[in-house]
Symmetry: C2
Subunit: 316 residues, 2 copies
């Protein structure tokens, strides 16, 4: 049966790259001409103007990279900081990316107890039951193709997401070994049986996804494994042969192509599958890194993606 991982595989094949563009907008990195335009165009509140500038920025990035990458991943914290206006911009960013033929991962790292996780799962992947007078109306809220989730609450909090994935051909990526330095505080603790917590989580993710493996040998239950910890990622690749890996930490956080190579593999064994490598700042801020004028931020982003594509191609 075809599942989200199969859709991802098709997109990776079609675009010829395993790159995920992280859309994590910071207002101080949004070109000034977009901010001025947002203020001039509207009688918006400062929150609304910021959200409007960011949406324009995101559209420019999406236009510039949509034929080169299979997927984008907007990090919702950078939208929540603008309140409901930011969330509206988040919705519109997801919608525009989808329109331009991209898959979307809502990087939200949500979770909670079962009944609450159900609401998150419906919000991000499924549909919301509404009303219009006496009639029931059903509409999606965010309608992302996949969402990142946190495993801390165990199976209760995972199950509702799996149900929405089955119903709507969607996917999840569960945090396992994250890319930040202090991920070791809890994730590397050594258990009684000698395993580390991240290994236990790997086994859990493997079992949680075991009933939903698609045509290409990958489950729609994926894992987040940071590029900054290649040894742990290598071990996790062994533990989870059927999980697609979402790999943050490449670029600004220090992860190199050689580090992410170990994340690929599993599934049907086809080269270039099994992982998507995220890059946020390295692409969206490329105009600064490459010394371009800010008006050319989209061209710079395209150039950064092409450079990353070459870099990754040489590594495996």
């Amino acid at each position: 049966m075809k599942n989200f991982a199969d859709k991802l595989v098709e997109a990776v094949r079609a675009k010829g790259s395993a790159i995920c563009v992280g859309l994590d907008p910071r207002l101080d990195k949004i070109p000034k001409f977009l901010k001025m335009k947002a203020v001039e165009d509207t009688d918006r509140t400062p929150f609304g103007a910021a959200a409007s500038a960011i949406l324009e920025f995101n559209k420019g990035i999406i236009d510039a990279v949509h034929d080169l990458v299979p997927v984008v991943k907007p990090q919702i914290a950078f939208y929540e900081i603008f309140g409901h206006e930011g969330i509206k911009c988040y919705e519109e960013t997801l919608k525009y990316a989808k329109k331009m033929g991209l898959l979307t991962i809502a990087d939200a790292k949500r979770n909670d107890i079962g009944s609450t996780a159900e609401a998150y799962a419906q919000a991000f992947l499924g549909e919301t039951v509404l009303f219009d007078g006496d009639e029931e109306v059903i509409m999606p809220a965010f309608d992302a193709d996949a969402v990142t989730i946190n495993p801390h609450l165990g199976w209760d909090g995972i199950k509702p997401f799996i149900e929405e994935c089955r119903k709507y051909e969607k996917g999840i990526f569960i945090l396992d070994k994250t890319s930040n330095p202090s991920s070791s505080d809890l994730q590397d603790l050594e258990m009684k049986d000698g395993k580390a917590v991240y290994e236990i989580i790997g086994h859990l993710i493997d079992s949680w996804g075991a009933n939903d493996i698609g045509e290409n040998g990958y489950s729609f239950v994926g894992a987040v494994t940071g590029a900054t910890f290649p040894e742990q990622a290598k071990r996790l690749r062994e533990i989870m042969p059927n999980a697609y890996f979402l790999v943050p930490g490449y670029g600004a956080q220090g992860g190199k192509a050689g580090d992410v190579a170990v994340c690929f593999g599993g599934g049907n064994g086809e080269k270039g599958l099994g992982a998507i490598v995220n890059n946020s700042r390295g692409i969206t801020n490329a105009y600064e890194i490459l010394g371009y004028p800010e008006e050319k931020y989209a061209e710079a982003a395209r150039e950064a993606v092409m450079k990353m594509k070459m870099d990754l191609a040489g590594a495996f």
Copy 2:
């Protein structure tokens, strides 16, 4: 120095109760007259109408209980399910609660790597840097008094929240032993040294909060410990003498007054301090439970709070 925990202590003393009212609205439990009013009043979208009905509902609950309880805790999943309209309702609910003299806990269970956690911390507790033409404008997005956060990413993800807490007299409650049945999947795993993961988290929370203990002996770094696991909560009370406990799981989830009694204590030793006990469905759906007509949902909520107050008073 006075901190968020001291503000909480003052509110608990003033209201004479340690009850937190969870505002977790489910559309199928919102009285029909409020839904009809929301549709008639406006030319809103279905999402907007739902959000409008929920805001009216929340205001009714807040009006009915604000003199009896120190704090309310809206669970953001039940707002996100309505997209940006839901988030607007979330903002307005927080604002109204504050206006009515209540402290607010944003139950969002957020976290991420450091730079992203910083955005979440600013969104929920701090302020957002915006612009108006050439001028910088600074405004808060959600401006909750406290937020729940997830410890899975370790210290990196905690530090930015602590910085906002210091700056704005705010608080955090870090998930430790959650109230759901499968919290045991990860939180109860036994470590090499014989400790359980939830105990390790307890020691971490204790150390993370050690530099920020207020006048009453409590840190602004609190912990979430479910009423459904009294033995573990008792152990955590010993490990974290300076943490205020946010205790979910009372009522609908099965936790009893005797179970939550062990969560109190610590700090300056004053009776009735050290824990706030959350009840969501037991209060907001009291009209169903008590067999009231739905028009009297607010009166029913007040009655449920008074009953809970008596129940808790008898237990310690």
